[in-house]
């Protein structure tokens, strides 16, 4: 129990950032019209592609003879890039169609 409490103080700032981010995520979405649900979902999908940064770090730190790490890291980079690039492009295509309406 005391350990958990200590974790709270040690990670105070992180906890704040997480809580504020959760609030922001909820506030920002607020009440979107259902028409925008799909592009919004796909845009959010592209944003969590930020996980690619973790893949780059893993890859960039792997020692050059650790083939397991290299291969897995490489795969992670490819998949993460797919998520990011594909996500943004697909969202843009969808929104392009929407814009025509006006």
């Amino acid at each position: 129990m005391e350990n958990i409490l200590k974790l709270v103080t040690e990670n105070q700032q992180m906890i704040y950032i997480v809580i504020l981010m959760v609030f922001l995520g909820i506030e920002v979405i607020g009440r979107v019209p259902s028409v925008l649900h799909t592009p919004l979902m796909s845009g959010a999908n592209a944003i969590h592609g930020v996980v690619i940064i973790g893949a780059i770090i893993v890859m960039g730190k792997a020692s050059t003879d650790n083939y397991l790490a290299l291969v897995l890291g490489f795969l992670a980079v490819v998949l993460g890039t797919l998520n990011v690039v594909g996500g943004f492009v697909v969202t843009d295509r969808m929104l392009e169609m929407f814009k025509k309406k006006k």
Partner: protein, 476 residues
């Protein structure tokens, strides 16, 4: 210095994500918002590549691997995203989401491998040397990422018809057991002897994949958009785990942002269908009723209409409403539909479209579809407005829609779609329904509308039927 610039790049990244998401939820700014977020992401990625330093002050290496990965991913991603048909958008999103989940799981795996190599010889369990918090983030990233990946793949398969719904009794209990098993194995990984730690970890990941499959399998295909949105927020949380792991703020904020926004979006989507999330996940909505409903259970007699009669009716109408549905998208008949609309307008008929928010297979599907065919925006009426106007409408032409005009949603409390707001087309003078057969729609239930005296059926593929209609109307 270098690290300070990296910090700033990350701050910029986080801010653009917030701004981008904010703008994405506003129709007018959405596209710009997407570009802004993409810009921030690019900055964060390149800053990481060139400025990141490990604790001992070294930069990254393996640039060749990194760049080839980036290039390969970009090319495939762009091509896939550009080539996909509008109707297949949700599948594509699901696929990309799965990639993100897999990426998060892989990172955790490599990180586990890293820690494992370091400690397997010196100590007899992870618990003795690795702080619980550190192991927890690794494990959570692997599990959540794995579930998200497997679930997204199944969702993708369901949407394009490769995977069929699959249910058995007590499925949800089995799923709960599998989930409990994951937790136990993840604990074993931490506390067991290092000689088997790696095996337990492998089992953790594998079970996570199994769980992802089993989680999505029983959920009806029509509910996939909701499931994808949920898995989307899972991947967000998995990315945030990576943020904790590397104390990387941009991953943390981006991940949490999507996690929170995605969860809310999921709930909003359920609300738009007038159902609870629980009902979607556990209700097995789509499946059960495809089984119980079906063409055998016809409730009465329907009458057909010839193309000529339909053409006559519409040519001499004052006001025609077109109700597009999933079938129109399948038949790719949006352009032909726009042609019909122009033709009728030339003849002095007022033509409007009634857009149901969940018509088709993704929210806003009909808007996208008709926009593709250049149908002008002010002809599209939202459900509430359309419902006000049906009373003064002569002909409603339903093109491949079914559930969204099913009066059971209003009248039959035992119906699985009871409570969903629908387009109340039976208020119009005449209703013409175009579909290929008397088969039910996605919810798998009978539609009383088709048997009402006002309604006549015009069977056939939407595109073919529309082409015939156009030809006839030209002759009138």
């Amino acid at each position: 210095m270098q690290l300070d610039i990296l910090t700033i790049a990350y701050i910029i990244g986080s801010v653009t994500f917030i701004l981008g998401l904010k703008m994405l939820s506003n129709p007018l700014a959405a596209r710009k918002g997407n570009l802004i977020a993409a810009g921030g992401m690019t900055i964060a990625i390149f800053a990481t590549i060139f400025l990141y330093q490990t604790e001992d002050g070294q930069g990254l290496h393996n640039y060749a691997w990194i760049f080839s990965g980036l290039i390969i991913g970009s090319i495939i991603g762009t091509l896939a995203a550009k080539k996909v048909k509008m109707t297949a958008m949700p599948e594509m999103v699901s696929m990309f989401n799965g990639m993100g989940g897999a990426c998060a799981a892989l990172i955790s795996a490599v990180e586990f491998d890293h820690v494992y190599r370091e400690f397997r010889l010196d100590s007899n369990s992870f618990a003795a040397v690795v702080p619980f918090g550190h192991y927890f983030t690794i494990s959570a990233g692997a599990i959540i990422g794995g579930v998200s990946f497997a679930g997204s793949m199944i969702a993708w398969g369901k949407l394009n018809g490769r995977v069929k719904d699959f249910t058995f009794n007590g499925q949800h209990i089995v799923n709960l057991l599998v989930f409990g098993f994951i937790v136990v194995v993840a604990g074993l990984t931490y506390w067991s002897n290092t000689s088997v730690t790696n095996i337990w970890f492998l089992i953790t990941i594998l079970t996570a994949l199994v769980y992802g499959v089993m989680f999505v399998l029983p959920i009806g295909g029509a509910d996939m958009p909701v499931v994808i949105s949920l898995l989307n927020s899972f991947t967000g949380v998995a990315a945030a785990c990576g943020g904790f792991l590397y104390n990387n703020k941009v991953m943390l904020t981006g991940g949490i942002l999507v996690g929170a926004a995605g969860t809310l979006l999921t709930i909003l989507m359920c609300k738009a269908m007038n159902r609870s999330l629980m009902n979607v996940l556990v209700g097995s909505f789509g499946t059960k009723h495809t089984a119980s409903g079906g063409p055998a259970k016809q409730a009465g007699n329907h009458k057909e209409i010839t193309v000529t009669d339909a053409a006559m009716l519409m040519s001499y109408a004052k006001k025609v409403f077109i109700v597009p549905g999933y079938g129109l998208a399948v038949a790719q008949a949006q352009h032909t539909c726009h042609e019909l609309e122009k033709l009728l307008e030339e003849k002095g008929v007022e033509v409007k479209y009634a857009i149901h928010p969940v018509a088709g297979r993704m929210p806003g599907h009909m808007n996208v579809l008709l926009a593709e065919a250049d149908v002008s925006y002010d002809k599209l009426l939202e459900m509430e407005n359309a419902n006000d106007e049906f009373k003064s409408t002569d002909v409603v032409l339903i093109l491949g829609a079914n559930d969204v005009v099913n009066p059971a949603a209003k009248n039959d409390p035992s119906s699985p779609i009871y409570g969903m707001p629908i387009l109340e087309v039976e208020q119009a003078k005449t209703v013409i329904v175009n579909k290929r057969s008397m088969k039910p729609g996605y919810a798998g239930i009978e539609n009383d509308l088709f048997y009402q005296p006002k309604t006549s059926m015009l069977f056939g593929d939407a595109k073919a039927a529309l082409q015939k209609l156009i030809a006839e109307i030209k002759n009138v």
